[in-house]
């Protein structure tokens, strides 16, 4: 399975909808300090279900909604959609919900409103966070802490305590 496309709208420094297509192989994201590169990585971890506000560098989950700039007003919502292809789990899962068997593309989504209300989506239909977590677990994405390394965090695997390091290996075992 692989990433296909990320759509981001109203999330952090992206007030307008932006799309990034992922091919097989290596995608590089470049640009000057503060232009929004890490915000794109945050968008991916957020739509995959990240619950920790601190790891998204905020103080409240509301901090991920575009808060305005000199020239723009804040937006009312943040929305991120991530499309996957070749998702092995999708066929069995969607069949359980009545979608056609053999479907192998799937899109997870997440929305947050200023009111604090939030929604999770699979192929545009509202679902529970649990459904997304199950989907990812079945398709081999899981909660792999070692598959996403945030800025400045690469050293933590070395400075971690012996029992924390054990957890990393247990995750892979």
């Amino acid at each position: 399975m692989r990433l296909n496309q990320l759509r981001i709208s109203g999330f952090k420094s992206f007030p307008e909808q932006a799309e990034i297509a992922f091919d097989a192989g290596v995608t590089a994201i470049v640009g000057p300090n503060g232009c929004g590169k890490s915000n794109l990585i945050d968008a991916i971890t957020w739509v995959l279900g990240e619950q920790s506000v601190r790891s998204l560098r905020g103080e409240r989950m509301e901090d991920v909604i575009f808060g305005g700039s000199d020239g723009r007003r804040p937006t009312a919502t943040a929305e991120v959609r991530l499309r996957f292809s070749n998702v092995a789990a999708a066929a069995t899962m969607l069949n359980g919900n009545g979608a056609p068997a053999g479907e192998s593309n799937i899109e997870v989504g997440r929305r947050l409103f200023r009111s604090g209300e939030s929604e999770y989506l699979i192929d545009g239909r509202v679902c529970r966070l649990r459904d997304i977590q199950d989907l990812l677990m079945d398709s081999g994405v899981g909660v792999k802490a070692y598959a996403i390394v945030e800025q400045g965090k690469i050293g933590h695997i070395l400075s971690a305590r012996p029992l924390e390091r054990r957890q990393l290996l247990e995750e892979a075992a």
Binding site: G36, L40, G68, R72, V141, P162, R165
Partner: protein
């Protein structure tokens, strides 16, 4: 389970020796069970020896060496249980040119099984990208994406 953990531990340990010596151009590293008798609960330590240097605590390594050793462990776990994709945000920041060259070689070796998304400021790292996205903020506070085709 005890056996499954033992199998993972030994496989990852073997991978670590290989990823470490590729990234460092030599040397050795391994994981150590703090309590060999207690496979179910024991914490895990890591020792590392860059080529030609003596074996010592990883804490004494330099900033760049620590990043490289951390990468070696991360890729060792990865080779045992690959994730479909891997997002790396500026992990090449503390590395000098020679080390970035070896880091790029390791990525080349893994990019067929794993889709990599790299945030970077480094030109050598950019060179292995199949596609490059530029992010700009011409209007302050507003990010825009520009796609740049490479290969």
């Amino acid at each position: 389970t005890r056996d499954r953990f033992k199998q993972a531990f030994e496989a990852i340990n073997a991978n670590l020796q290989q990823t470490f010596s590729t990234l460092f151009g030599g040397g050795s590293a391994s994981l150590v069970l703090l309590d060999e008798a207690d496979l179910l609960e024991s914490g895990i330590d890591i020792i590392a020896q860059p080529p030609g240097k003596r074996l010592q605590s990883v804490q004494l390594l330099s900033g760049g060496e620590k990043a490289l050793a951390a990468m070696a462990l991360m890729f060792a776990v990865f080779k045992y249980k690959p994730s479909p994709f891997c997002l790396l945000d500026e992990i090449d920041a503390p590395l000098d040119d020679a080390n970035i060259g070896r880091f790029v070689e390791v990525l080349r070796g893994m990019q067929d099984e794993t889709q990599f998304v790299l945030v970077t400021h480094n030109r050598k790292t950019m060179e292995i990208a199949d596609r490059l996205y530029g992010v700009t903020m011409e209007e302050p506070g507003v990010s825009k994406l520009v796609s740049v085709w490479l290969n």
